[in-house]
Protein backbone atom coordinates (compact mmCIF):
# COMPACT_ATOMS: atom_id res chain seq x y z
CA UNK A 1 0.00 0.00 0.00
CA UNK A 2 1.25 3.47 -0.90
CA UNK A 3 1.64 5.55 2.19
CA UNK A 4 0.98 9.24 1.70
CA UNK A 5 2.71 12.04 3.58
CA UNK A 6 2.43 11.30 7.31
CA UNK A 7 0.18 13.60 9.36
CA UNK A 8 0.59 11.74 12.62
CA UNK A 9 3.33 9.39 13.72
CA UNK A 10 3.33 7.74 17.10
CA UNK A 11 6.32 5.68 18.17
CA UNK A 12 6.53 3.42 21.19
CA UNK A 13 3.97 5.43 23.15
CA UNK A 14 3.33 4.49 26.76
CA UNK A 15 0.77 6.21 28.98
CA UNK A 16 -0.27 5.18 32.48
CA UNK A 17 -2.44 6.46 35.30
CA UNK A 18 -0.74 5.61 38.58
CA UNK A 19 0.31 1.98 38.32
CA UNK A 20 -2.10 1.14 35.55
CA UNK A 21 -0.66 1.04 32.05
CA UNK A 22 -3.32 2.36 29.67
CA UNK A 23 -1.31 2.43 26.47
CA UNK A 24 1.66 0.17 25.93
CA UNK A 25 4.18 0.45 23.07
CA UNK A 26 1.71 1.94 20.64
CA UNK A 27 2.90 2.64 17.11
CA UNK A 28 0.59 4.43 14.72
CA UNK A 29 1.11 6.25 11.44
CA UNK A 30 -1.65 8.17 9.72
CA UNK A 31 -1.18 9.61 6.23
CA UNK A 32 -2.77 12.64 4.64
CA UNK A 33 -5.26 10.62 2.59
CA UNK A 34 -6.45 8.49 5.48
CA UNK A 35 -9.87 8.16 6.98
CA UNK A 36 -8.68 6.14 9.92
CA UNK A 37 -10.75 4.34 12.53
CA UNK A 38 -9.51 3.07 15.86
CA UNK A 39 -11.87 0.58 17.43
CA UNK A 40 -11.68 -1.21 20.74
CA UNK A 41 -13.54 -2.04 23.93
CA UNK A 42 -14.41 0.49 26.61
CA UNK A 43 -11.44 1.08 28.86
CA UNK A 44 -9.10 -0.03 26.08
CA UNK A 45 -7.38 3.35 26.02
CA UNK A 46 -9.08 4.92 22.98
CA UNK A 47 -9.82 8.26 24.58
CA UNK A 48 -6.43 8.27 26.31
CA UNK A 49 -4.76 7.87 22.90
CA UNK A 50 -6.57 10.99 21.66
CA UNK A 51 -5.78 12.90 24.82
CA UNK A 52 -2.11 12.01 24.44
CA UNK A 53 -2.09 13.28 20.85
CA UNK A 54 -3.76 16.50 22.03
CA UNK A 55 -1.27 16.93 24.86
CA UNK A 56 -3.92 16.63 27.58
CA UNK A 57 -2.24 13.72 29.40
CA UNK A 58 1.44 13.31 30.21
CA UNK A 59 3.17 10.49 28.36
CA UNK A 60 5.64 8.12 30.05
CA UNK A 61 7.56 7.14 27.02
CA UNK A 62 7.67 7.41 23.26
CA UNK A 63 7.15 10.25 20.83
CA UNK A 64 4.31 11.84 18.94
CA UNK A 65 4.96 13.67 15.68
CA UNK A 66 2.38 15.93 14.09
CA UNK A 67 3.03 17.01 10.50
CA UNK A 68 6.51 15.44 10.80
CA UNK A 69 7.45 17.62 13.79
CA UNK A 70 7.32 16.83 17.52
CA UNK A 71 3.78 17.63 18.64
CA UNK A 72 3.53 21.13 20.11
CA UNK A 73 0.94 23.86 20.48
CA UNK A 74 1.44 25.00 16.93
CA UNK A 75 0.98 21.53 15.48
CA UNK A 76 -2.05 20.92 17.65
CA UNK A 77 -3.65 24.15 16.46
CA UNK A 78 -3.98 22.41 13.06
CA UNK A 79 -6.17 19.75 14.66
CA UNK A 80 -9.94 19.98 14.72
CA UNK A 81 -11.12 18.02 17.72
CA UNK A 82 -14.65 16.68 18.19
CA UNK A 83 -14.86 15.50 21.79
CA UNK A 84 -17.38 13.08 23.21
CA UNK A 85 -20.78 14.64 23.16
CA UNK A 86 -21.75 13.96 26.77
CA UNK A 87 -18.73 15.82 28.16
CA UNK A 88 -20.51 19.06 27.28
CA UNK A 89 -22.64 21.50 29.18
CA UNK A 90 -25.22 22.25 26.52
CA UNK A 91 -27.03 24.55 28.96
CA UNK A 92 -24.22 27.08 28.55
CA UNK A 93 -25.63 30.42 27.34
CA UNK A 94 -24.15 30.61 23.87
CA UNK A 95 -25.58 30.70 20.35
CA UNK A 96 -24.59 28.15 17.73
CA UNK A 97 -22.68 30.73 15.74
CA UNK A 98 -20.73 31.94 18.79
CA UNK A 99 -19.95 28.36 19.77
CA UNK A 100 -18.67 27.54 16.28
CA UNK A 101 -16.60 30.73 16.45
CA UNK A 102 -14.76 29.39 19.49
CA UNK A 103 -13.20 26.93 17.05
CA UNK A 104 -11.22 29.96 15.80
CA UNK A 105 -10.05 30.98 19.28
CA UNK A 106 -6.45 29.97 18.62
CA UNK A 107 -6.44 31.66 15.22
CA UNK A 108 -6.87 35.21 16.42
CA UNK A 109 -3.90 37.54 16.68
CA UNK A 110 -3.41 37.31 20.44
CA UNK A 111 -5.04 36.87 23.80
CA UNK A 112 -6.81 40.23 23.65
CA UNK A 113 -7.91 40.04 20.00
CA UNK A 114 -11.52 40.00 19.00
CA UNK A 115 -12.89 37.70 16.32
CA UNK A 116 -12.29 39.22 12.88
CA UNK A 117 -14.73 39.27 9.94
CA UNK A 118 -12.65 36.41 8.49
CA UNK A 119 -13.33 34.39 11.66
CA UNK A 120 -17.07 34.98 11.29
CA UNK A 121 -16.92 33.94 7.63
CA UNK A 122 -15.05 30.75 8.51
CA UNK A 123 -17.64 29.96 11.19
CA UNK A 124 -20.52 30.53 8.75
CA UNK A 125 -18.80 28.41 6.10
CA UNK A 126 -18.36 25.61 8.62
CA UNK A 127 -22.05 25.81 9.53
CA UNK A 128 -23.12 25.70 5.86
CA UNK A 129 -20.75 22.82 5.34
CA UNK A 130 -22.67 20.66 7.78
CA UNK A 131 -26.01 21.99 6.57
CA UNK A 132 -26.77 23.90 9.74
CA UNK A 133 -26.63 27.52 8.59
CA UNK A 134 -30.24 28.00 9.69
CA UNK A 135 -29.31 27.11 13.27
CA UNK A 136 -26.77 29.94 13.61
CA UNK A 137 -28.70 32.16 15.98
CA UNK A 138 -30.27 29.43 18.11
CA UNK A 139 -29.00 28.83 21.65
CA UNK A 140 -27.23 25.46 21.79
CA UNK A 141 -29.58 24.38 24.59
CA UNK A 142 -32.43 24.21 22.03
CA UNK A 143 -30.68 21.79 19.66
CA UNK A 144 -31.54 18.11 19.20
CA UNK A 145 -28.91 15.40 19.75
CA UNK A 146 -28.04 15.10 16.06
CA UNK A 147 -27.85 18.87 15.64
CA UNK A 148 -25.54 19.19 18.63
CA UNK A 149 -23.23 16.56 17.20
CA UNK A 150 -23.07 18.35 13.84
CA UNK A 151 -22.44 21.69 15.52
CA UNK A 152 -19.50 20.17 17.38
CA UNK A 153 -18.05 19.18 14.01
CA UNK A 154 -18.71 22.67 12.67
CA UNK A 155 -16.68 24.10 15.55
CA UNK A 156 -13.78 21.81 14.64
CA UNK A 157 -14.09 22.75 10.94
CA UNK A 158 -14.20 26.48 11.71
CA UNK A 159 -10.51 26.32 12.60
CA UNK A 160 -9.84 25.07 9.04
CA UNK A 161 -7.92 22.07 10.34
CA UNK A 162 -5.81 19.70 8.31
CA UNK A 163 -6.52 16.88 10.70
CA UNK A 164 -9.87 16.03 12.26
CA UNK A 165 -10.07 13.85 15.37
CA UNK A 166 -13.43 12.51 16.53
CA UNK A 167 -14.04 10.67 19.80
CA UNK A 168 -17.06 8.34 19.66
CA UNK A 169 -19.01 10.70 17.41
CA UNK A 170 -22.21 8.68 17.16
CA UNK A 171 -22.82 7.43 20.70
CA UNK A 172 -25.97 9.48 21.32
CA UNK A 173 -27.26 9.65 17.78
CA UNK A 174 -30.13 7.61 16.31
CA UNK A 175 -29.57 5.38 13.28
CA UNK A 176 -30.89 7.61 10.43
CA UNK A 177 -28.92 10.56 11.80
CA UNK A 178 -25.92 8.31 12.15
CA UNK A 179 -26.07 7.36 8.45
CA UNK A 180 -26.26 11.03 7.42
CA UNK A 181 -23.44 11.71 9.76
CA UNK A 182 -21.14 9.14 8.16
CA UNK A 183 -22.03 10.45 4.71
CA UNK A 184 -20.87 13.86 5.92
CA UNK A 185 -17.63 12.41 7.29
CA UNK A 186 -16.98 10.54 4.05
CA UNK A 187 -17.35 13.78 2.09
CA UNK A 188 -15.07 15.59 4.52
CA UNK A 189 -12.48 12.83 4.30
CA UNK A 190 -11.67 13.94 0.74
CA UNK A 191 -10.37 17.23 2.14
CA UNK A 192 -9.01 16.52 5.60
CA UNK A 193 -7.31 13.61 7.30
CA UNK A 194 -9.69 11.98 9.75
CA UNK A 195 -9.00 9.89 12.83
CA UNK A 196 -12.14 8.52 14.39
CA UNK A 197 -12.52 6.52 17.54
CA UNK A 198 -15.51 4.25 17.84
CA UNK A 199 -16.70 1.04 19.37
CA UNK A 200 -19.08 0.56 16.46
CA UNK A 201 -17.35 -2.13 14.44
CA UNK A 202 -20.20 -2.54 11.98
CA UNK A 203 -20.07 0.88 10.49
CA UNK A 204 -16.32 1.05 10.20
CA UNK A 205 -15.76 -1.15 7.17
CA UNK A 206 -18.19 0.85 5.02
CA UNK A 207 -16.63 4.27 5.33
CA UNK A 208 -13.05 4.27 6.49
CA UNK A 209 -9.98 3.21 4.57
CA UNK A 210 -7.82 2.06 7.46
CA UNK A 211 -8.55 0.42 10.77
CA UNK A 212 -6.64 -0.30 13.94
CA UNK A 213 -7.79 -2.10 17.05
CA UNK A 214 -6.78 -0.77 20.44
CA UNK A 215 -6.81 -2.55 23.75
CA UNK A 216 -3.76 -1.29 25.62
CA UNK A 217 -1.74 -2.32 22.58
CA UNK A 218 -2.58 -1.16 19.11
CA UNK A 219 -3.05 -3.64 16.29
CA UNK A 220 -2.54 -1.62 13.18
CA UNK A 221 -3.70 -3.06 9.91
CA UNK A 222 -2.31 -2.38 6.49
CA UNK A 223 -5.65 -1.88 4.81
CA UNK A 224 -9.33 -1.50 5.45
CA UNK A 225 -9.63 -5.23 5.94
CA UNK A 226 -10.87 -6.07 9.37
CA UNK A 227 -10.43 -9.64 10.45
CA UNK A 228 -12.27 -11.60 13.06
CA UNK A 229 -8.91 -12.59 14.49
CA UNK A 230 -7.84 -9.00 14.86
CA UNK A 231 -11.04 -8.07 16.60
CA UNK A 232 -11.06 -11.03 18.93
CA UNK A 233 -7.50 -10.17 19.91
CA UNK A 234 -8.58 -6.66 20.78
CA UNK A 235 -11.72 -7.53 22.62
CA UNK A 236 -10.26 -10.60 24.24
CA UNK A 237 -13.09 -12.81 23.05
CA UNK A 238 -14.52 -13.85 19.70
CA UNK A 239 -16.79 -11.19 18.26
CA UNK A 240 -19.44 -12.24 15.79
CA UNK A 241 -19.14 -10.02 12.75
CA UNK A 242 -22.16 -11.61 11.10
CA UNK A 243 -24.41 -9.66 13.45
CA UNK A 244 -23.80 -6.65 11.23
CA UNK A 245 -25.32 -8.66 8.38
CA UNK A 246 -27.28 -5.98 6.56
CA UNK A 247 -24.08 -4.09 5.92
CA UNK A 248 -22.29 -4.98 2.66
CA UNK A 249 -19.10 -6.63 3.82
CA UNK A 250 -15.71 -6.32 2.32
CA UNK A 251 -13.55 -9.39 2.10
CA UNK A 252 -12.04 -10.12 5.47
CA UNK A 253 -8.46 -11.11 4.94
CA UNK A 254 -6.59 -13.25 7.41
CA UNK A 255 -4.77 -11.18 9.92
CA UNK A 256 -1.03 -11.67 10.10
CA UNK A 257 -0.24 -11.83 13.77
CA UNK A 258 2.38 -9.33 14.80
CA UNK A 259 3.19 -10.49 18.30
Amino acid sequence: MITSEPILEIRDLQVSYGNMVILDSVYLTIGREDFYAVIGPNGGGKTTLIRAILGLVPIDNGEILLFSRPADTEGRSQIGYVPQYHTFDFQFPITVREMVLTGRIGRRGGLFSRYSPADYQAADRALSRIGAASLALRPIADLSGGERQRVLIARALAGEPEFLILDEPTVFVDTPTENQFYELLTTLSHEVTILMITHDIGVVSRHVNRVACLNRRLYQHESEHLTADMISKTYGCPVDLITHGEIPHRVLAKHEDES
Partner: protein, 279 residues
Protein backbone atom coordinates in the same frame (compact mmCIF):
# COMPACT_ATOMS: atom_id res chain seq x y z
CA UNK B 1 -40.59 56.35 51.23
CA UNK B 2 -39.39 59.21 49.01
CA UNK B 3 -38.23 61.19 52.05
CA UNK B 4 -35.53 58.53 52.56
CA UNK B 5 -33.76 59.88 49.49
CA UNK B 6 -33.18 63.12 51.39
CA UNK B 7 -30.64 61.37 53.59
CA UNK B 8 -27.02 61.29 52.49
CA UNK B 9 -26.40 57.81 53.93
CA UNK B 10 -29.42 56.40 52.13
CA UNK B 11 -28.36 57.75 48.74
CA UNK B 12 -24.88 56.41 49.33
CA UNK B 13 -26.37 52.98 50.22
CA UNK B 14 -28.27 52.93 46.94
CA UNK B 15 -25.16 53.93 45.00
CA UNK B 16 -23.16 51.19 46.78
CA UNK B 17 -25.79 48.66 45.78
CA UNK B 18 -25.61 49.75 42.14
CA UNK B 19 -21.80 49.62 42.03
CA UNK B 20 -21.66 46.27 43.83
CA UNK B 21 -24.19 44.99 41.28
CA UNK B 22 -21.84 45.74 38.38
CA UNK B 23 -18.98 43.86 40.04
CA UNK B 24 -21.13 40.92 41.12
CA UNK B 25 -23.22 40.73 37.95
CA UNK B 26 -20.16 40.26 35.75
CA UNK B 27 -18.07 38.00 37.99
CA UNK B 28 -21.17 36.11 39.20
CA UNK B 29 -22.28 35.24 35.65
CA UNK B 30 -18.88 33.79 34.92
CA UNK B 31 -18.84 31.90 38.22
CA UNK B 32 -22.25 30.38 37.51
CA UNK B 33 -21.61 29.25 33.92
CA UNK B 34 -18.22 27.82 34.85
CA UNK B 35 -19.68 25.94 37.82
CA UNK B 36 -17.44 27.73 40.31
CA UNK B 37 -20.07 28.57 42.94
CA UNK B 38 -18.67 26.29 45.62
CA UNK B 39 -15.15 27.50 44.85
CA UNK B 40 -16.32 31.10 45.32
CA UNK B 41 -18.11 30.12 48.52
CA UNK B 42 -14.90 28.58 49.83
CA UNK B 43 -12.81 31.61 48.93
CA UNK B 44 -15.25 34.08 50.47
CA UNK B 45 -15.56 32.18 53.72
CA UNK B 46 -11.83 31.78 53.91
CA UNK B 47 -11.70 35.59 53.85
CA UNK B 48 -13.04 35.39 57.37
CA UNK B 49 -9.78 33.75 58.38
CA UNK B 50 -7.94 36.74 56.96
CA UNK B 51 -10.04 39.15 59.00
CA UNK B 52 -9.25 37.21 62.18
CA UNK B 53 -5.59 37.14 61.30
CA UNK B 54 -5.67 40.89 60.77
CA UNK B 55 -7.05 41.43 64.29
CA UNK B 56 -4.51 39.05 65.82
CA UNK B 57 -1.56 40.71 64.10
CA UNK B 58 -2.90 44.15 64.89
CA UNK B 59 -3.12 45.22 61.24
CA UNK B 60 -6.17 46.49 59.37
CA UNK B 61 -8.55 43.47 59.17
CA UNK B 62 -9.42 44.15 55.55
CA UNK B 63 -5.74 44.33 54.57
CA UNK B 64 -5.31 41.00 56.36
CA UNK B 65 -8.33 39.64 54.50
CA UNK B 66 -6.98 40.88 51.18
CA UNK B 67 -3.59 39.16 51.51
CA UNK B 68 -5.07 36.00 53.01
CA UNK B 69 -7.90 35.64 50.48
CA UNK B 70 -5.75 36.19 47.42
CA UNK B 71 -3.38 33.58 48.91
CA UNK B 72 -6.28 31.15 49.34
CA UNK B 73 -7.34 31.81 45.74
CA UNK B 74 -3.83 30.83 44.68
CA UNK B 75 -4.00 27.62 46.72
CA UNK B 76 -7.43 26.77 45.30
CA UNK B 77 -6.02 27.37 41.82
CA UNK B 78 -3.13 24.99 42.47
CA UNK B 79 -5.52 22.33 43.76
CA UNK B 80 -7.94 22.86 40.89
CA UNK B 81 -5.27 22.19 38.31
CA UNK B 82 -4.07 19.03 40.04
CA UNK B 83 -6.87 17.25 41.88
CA UNK B 84 -9.71 17.70 39.42
CA UNK B 85 -11.88 14.96 40.86
CA UNK B 86 -11.85 15.84 44.52
CA UNK B 87 -12.07 19.60 44.29
CA UNK B 88 -15.46 19.67 46.07
CA UNK B 89 -14.05 18.00 49.17
CA UNK B 90 -11.04 20.31 49.22
CA UNK B 91 -13.32 23.33 48.91
CA UNK B 92 -15.29 22.10 51.94
CA UNK B 93 -12.07 21.93 53.95
CA UNK B 94 -10.98 25.43 52.89
CA UNK B 95 -14.47 26.81 53.57
CA UNK B 96 -14.76 25.47 57.12
CA UNK B 97 -11.05 25.76 57.87
CA UNK B 98 -10.96 29.44 56.90
CA UNK B 99 -13.83 30.33 59.21
CA UNK B 100 -12.50 28.25 62.10
CA UNK B 101 -9.09 29.87 61.70
CA UNK B 102 -10.67 33.31 61.80
CA UNK B 103 -12.57 32.59 64.99
CA UNK B 104 -9.47 31.06 66.60
CA UNK B 105 -7.41 34.17 65.74
CA UNK B 106 -10.05 36.49 67.17
CA UNK B 107 -10.34 34.48 70.39
CA UNK B 108 -6.55 34.72 70.77
CA UNK B 109 -6.62 38.49 70.21
CA UNK B 110 -6.36 40.32 73.52
CA UNK B 111 -8.83 43.08 74.27
CA UNK B 112 -12.29 43.66 72.87
CA UNK B 113 -14.11 41.24 70.59
CA UNK B 114 -15.10 42.78 67.27
CA UNK B 115 -18.62 42.42 65.92
CA UNK B 116 -18.23 39.37 63.68
CA UNK B 117 -21.85 39.54 62.64
CA UNK B 118 -21.20 42.66 60.59
CA UNK B 119 -18.60 40.80 58.52
CA UNK B 120 -21.13 38.12 57.65
CA UNK B 121 -23.97 40.43 56.66
CA UNK B 122 -22.29 43.82 56.41
CA UNK B 123 -24.23 47.04 56.55
CA UNK B 124 -24.84 48.73 53.29
CA UNK B 125 -26.29 51.74 55.12
CA UNK B 126 -22.94 52.52 56.76
CA UNK B 127 -20.51 52.71 53.86
CA UNK B 128 -17.71 55.26 54.07
CA UNK B 129 -17.35 57.39 50.90
CA UNK B 130 -13.73 56.37 50.24
CA UNK B 131 -14.87 52.77 50.15
CA UNK B 132 -17.38 53.68 47.46
CA UNK B 133 -14.50 54.92 45.33
CA UNK B 134 -12.73 51.58 45.85
CA UNK B 135 -15.78 49.62 44.64
CA UNK B 136 -16.11 51.94 41.67
CA UNK B 137 -12.46 51.35 40.70
CA UNK B 138 -12.83 47.59 41.08
CA UNK B 139 -15.91 47.69 38.86
CA UNK B 140 -13.95 49.63 36.26
CA UNK B 141 -11.04 47.16 36.31
CA UNK B 142 -13.41 44.21 35.97
CA UNK B 143 -15.33 45.76 33.07
CA UNK B 144 -12.10 46.56 31.21
CA UNK B 145 -10.55 43.11 31.82
CA UNK B 146 -13.65 41.11 30.97
CA UNK B 147 -14.31 43.18 27.83
CA UNK B 148 -10.72 42.86 26.65
CA UNK B 149 -10.54 39.12 27.36
CA UNK B 150 -14.13 38.26 26.48
CA UNK B 151 -13.50 35.80 23.59
CA UNK B 152 -10.84 33.98 25.61
CA UNK B 153 -12.89 33.89 28.82
CA UNK B 154 -15.94 32.69 26.94
CA UNK B 155 -13.96 29.89 25.27
CA UNK B 156 -12.40 28.76 28.55
CA UNK B 157 -15.73 28.78 30.38
CA UNK B 158 -17.48 26.88 27.61
CA UNK B 159 -14.86 24.21 26.93
CA UNK B 160 -11.62 24.51 28.82
CA UNK B 161 -10.08 21.48 27.12
CA UNK B 162 -10.67 22.86 23.64
CA UNK B 163 -9.30 26.23 24.72
CA UNK B 164 -6.15 24.50 26.02
CA UNK B 165 -5.65 22.61 22.76
CA UNK B 166 -6.16 25.88 20.86
CA UNK B 167 -3.19 27.28 22.76
CA UNK B 168 -4.97 29.62 25.19
CA UNK B 169 -3.27 30.14 28.58
CA UNK B 170 -6.21 28.55 30.40
CA UNK B 171 -4.33 28.15 33.67
CA UNK B 172 -3.47 31.83 33.75
CA UNK B 173 -7.05 32.85 32.90
CA UNK B 174 -8.39 30.62 35.69
CA UNK B 175 -5.98 32.23 38.16
CA UNK B 176 -7.08 35.67 37.00
CA UNK B 177 -10.74 34.81 37.63
CA UNK B 178 -10.01 33.34 41.08
CA UNK B 179 -8.04 36.44 42.08
CA UNK B 180 -10.85 38.67 40.79
CA UNK B 181 -13.31 36.66 42.90
CA UNK B 182 -11.04 37.07 45.93
CA UNK B 183 -10.70 40.84 45.43
CA UNK B 184 -14.44 41.20 44.83
CA UNK B 185 -15.19 39.37 48.06
CA UNK B 186 -12.81 41.44 50.15
CA UNK B 187 -13.91 44.79 48.73
CA UNK B 188 -17.54 43.91 49.34
CA UNK B 189 -17.20 42.32 52.80
CA UNK B 190 -17.48 45.56 54.73
CA UNK B 191 -20.34 46.68 52.57
CA UNK B 192 -22.58 43.69 52.16
CA UNK B 193 -20.88 40.93 54.15
CA UNK B 194 -19.63 37.48 53.16
CA UNK B 195 -23.08 35.89 52.90
CA UNK B 196 -24.50 38.68 50.76
CA UNK B 197 -21.50 38.59 48.43
CA UNK B 198 -22.28 34.96 47.59
CA UNK B 199 -25.97 35.79 47.23
CA UNK B 200 -25.16 38.66 44.86
CA UNK B 201 -22.79 36.42 42.89
CA UNK B 202 -25.29 33.60 42.40
CA UNK B 203 -28.90 34.84 42.63
CA UNK B 204 -28.88 37.46 39.82
CA UNK B 205 -27.36 35.07 37.21
CA UNK B 206 -29.80 32.37 38.33
CA UNK B 207 -32.70 34.78 37.82
CA UNK B 208 -31.29 36.13 34.54
CA UNK B 209 -30.45 32.72 33.05
CA UNK B 210 -33.80 31.98 31.31
CA UNK B 211 -33.67 35.37 29.60
CA UNK B 212 -30.08 35.17 28.34
CA UNK B 213 -28.88 33.63 25.10
CA UNK B 214 -25.21 34.56 25.49
CA UNK B 215 -22.69 35.01 28.28
CA UNK B 216 -22.49 38.72 27.50
CA UNK B 217 -26.27 38.94 27.77
CA UNK B 218 -26.20 37.04 31.05
CA UNK B 219 -23.66 39.50 32.47
CA UNK B 220 -25.70 42.54 31.44
CA UNK B 221 -29.07 41.16 32.59
CA UNK B 222 -27.56 39.86 35.87
CA UNK B 223 -26.18 43.31 36.58
CA UNK B 224 -29.60 44.82 35.94
CA UNK B 225 -31.34 42.20 38.09
CA UNK B 226 -28.81 42.76 40.87
CA UNK B 227 -29.39 46.53 40.75
CA UNK B 228 -33.13 45.94 41.01
CA UNK B 229 -32.67 43.53 43.95
CA UNK B 230 -30.35 45.76 45.97
CA UNK B 231 -32.42 48.90 45.37
CA UNK B 232 -35.69 47.19 46.29
CA UNK B 233 -34.02 45.46 49.24
CA UNK B 234 -32.69 48.74 50.63
CA UNK B 235 -36.11 50.38 50.35
CA UNK B 236 -37.75 47.36 52.02
CA UNK B 237 -35.18 47.55 54.77
CA UNK B 238 -36.06 51.24 55.30
CA UNK B 239 -39.82 50.75 55.20
CA UNK B 240 -40.03 47.73 57.50
CA UNK B 241 -36.98 48.61 59.60
CA UNK B 242 -35.26 45.26 58.97
CA UNK B 243 -31.56 44.49 58.31
CA UNK B 244 -30.67 45.44 54.73
CA UNK B 245 -28.61 42.28 54.07
CA UNK B 246 -31.57 40.06 54.89
CA UNK B 247 -34.08 42.08 52.92
CA UNK B 248 -31.90 42.08 49.78
CA UNK B 249 -31.21 38.34 49.96
CA UNK B 250 -34.75 37.28 50.82
CA UNK B 251 -36.24 39.48 48.11
CA UNK B 252 -33.74 37.91 45.68
CA UNK B 253 -34.71 34.39 46.72
CA UNK B 254 -38.38 35.28 46.26
CA UNK B 255 -37.78 36.62 42.73
CA UNK B 256 -35.72 33.54 41.93
CA UNK B 257 -38.54 31.22 43.04
CA UNK B 258 -41.15 33.14 41.04
CA UNK B 259 -38.99 33.19 37.87
CA UNK B 260 -38.11 29.50 38.19
CA UNK B 261 -41.72 28.44 38.72
CA UNK B 262 -42.88 30.60 35.81
CA UNK B 263 -40.14 29.14 33.61
CA UNK B 264 -41.05 25.56 34.51
CA UNK B 265 -44.74 26.30 33.95
CA UNK B 266 -44.07 27.85 30.52
CA UNK B 267 -41.86 25.03 29.32
CA UNK B 268 -44.45 22.48 30.46
CA UNK B 269 -47.12 24.34 28.50
CA UNK B 270 -44.97 24.60 25.37
CA UNK B 271 -43.93 20.98 25.49
CA UNK B 272 -47.53 19.71 25.71
CA UNK B 273 -46.60 16.96 28.08
CA UNK B 274 -48.87 13.91 27.73
CA UNK B 275 -50.62 14.21 31.08
CA UNK B 276 -51.90 17.63 30.11
CA UNK B 277 -53.20 16.46 26.74
CA UNK B 278 -54.98 13.34 27.97
CA UNK B 279 -56.88 15.11 30.70
Amino acid sequence: MIEALGYEFFRSALLTGLLASIVCGIIGSYVVVKHMISISGGISHAAFGGIGLGYLLGIDPLTGAFIFTVGVAGVVWGLMERAKQHIDTLIGAIWAGGMAFGILCISLTPGYTPDLFSYLFGNILLVPPDHLVLIFLLGLVIIVLVTALYPALQAVAFDQEYATISGLPTRGLNLLILVLIAITVVVLIQVVGIILVIALLTLPPAIARPFSRTLRGLMVISTGVSMMLTTTGIFLSWIFDIPSGSSIILFGVLVYLVVTCAHIFCSLKNRNVPFLIHK
